[in-house]
Symmetry: C2
Subunit: 207 residues, 2 copies
């Protein structure tokens, strides 16, 4: 409703918030219109279908969700230092977008078509990055700096431990009544613990 911020943007913005909160199916175009302050038909005028609108939002969120698979730091710091930073960066990204894990898991499980489209997309785009990481990791294992582990298992471990706390946030907020400050602290602590757990878990056996 800002003067040069047009209604199309407003709708997109409101839809994003609602979808993140409740997922695709629990948000109606009427809800979106109400929040954006416009007529329900306008949502369809700009985006034609609800599915369309959702796609535009979901794609970007999914990339963030898989950050750990889709970025590569080629500075000359040691591997473990870079890995640690990558885990932290992923976690920080999720802190800024706390509902992403819920949205992604939810829609990916529920909607076969979405799954199919996204997986292919991401897979093709990031294969090269994955290969470089894979190569580096297996080299470190060869050198005996890291215990043997498959690249995919390690990445899955990281993603899983990074996202889990965000599934628990609604509980911490509404059941245990933590306030925003406490939640921030819990998240920071959890981040440290994930990094610690991962780093410990890849130490070679004989060291």
């Amino acid at each position: 409703m800002n003067k040069d911020n047009n209604m199309e943007q407003q709708i997109l913005q409101c839809a994003e918030e609602l979808f993140l909160e409740k997922g695709f199916s629990l948000v109606s175009t009427t809800d979106i219109a109400k929040k954006a302050g416009c007529n329900q038909a306008l949502v369809h005028y700009y985006f034609r279908t609800k599915e369309n609108l959702f796609q535009q939002i979901f794609q970007a969120k999914f990339t963030k969700f898989l950050y750990i698979f889709t970025t590569f730091d080629d500075s000359d710091e040691p591997f473990t230092t870079r890995l640690r930073k990558k885990i932290e960066a992923h976690f920080d990204l999720l802190i800024e977008n706390r509902q992403i894990p819920f949205l992604v898991i939810n829609e990916l499980i529920l909607n076969e078509e979405r799954r199919s489209a996204l997986v292919k997309n991401i897979y093709n785009k990031n294969l090269e990055i994955y290969r470089r990481f894979d190569h580096e990791l297996q080299e470190e294992i060869q050198k005996g700096n890291i215990r043997p582990i498959s690249t995919i298992d390690l990445l899955i471990n990281i993603v899983s431990m990074n996202i889990i706390i965000f599934f628990m946030l609604p509980m911490l907020e509404s059941q245990f009544n933590f306030d925003e400050e406490e939640i921030t602290e819990i998240l920071q602590q959890r981040k440290r613990e994930v990094v610690e757990t991962i780093m410990c878990s890849i130490r070679p056996q004989n060291k």
Copy 2:
């Protein structure tokens, strides 16, 4: 529709399958009736409301989901052996109920009332078990057998790594076309990896 298996059971059974597959809101009482082979009104006759029907199913699933929080093995094996077994038992339970993680996460995030009711219930029922586990773990840490870690972080790590693969199953099945046998193998391998990761992650620093 079996002769002594009455329709009430049939409805419950079908509802369970559908809820596990799609969650509460994407399953209608009409869907349930169709699957059970009866009139839609009958679902309401036996269970009055859809919410009611769902509750009966969800409660049991939730307990399984938190198995790791709600069981205690007091055999005289060493702590780490029992921990390993507990992780495996939890994972095996999820193998038998693969959609539980999705259902639980989904409904717990979406529905404040469900959350509230269940959390209190579980919390009260299992506080004693949690305390015993906590006591044992911290004792092992004192003895230097395990690196310092909070009990809750350890349990969260286990749950998170145990459940994540079940979020990925739909993708493995429909996108990468793994068949049932391959999935079984993937799950077994993932179980081993989780156990390995956890056991490695709690080794004391100096060993």
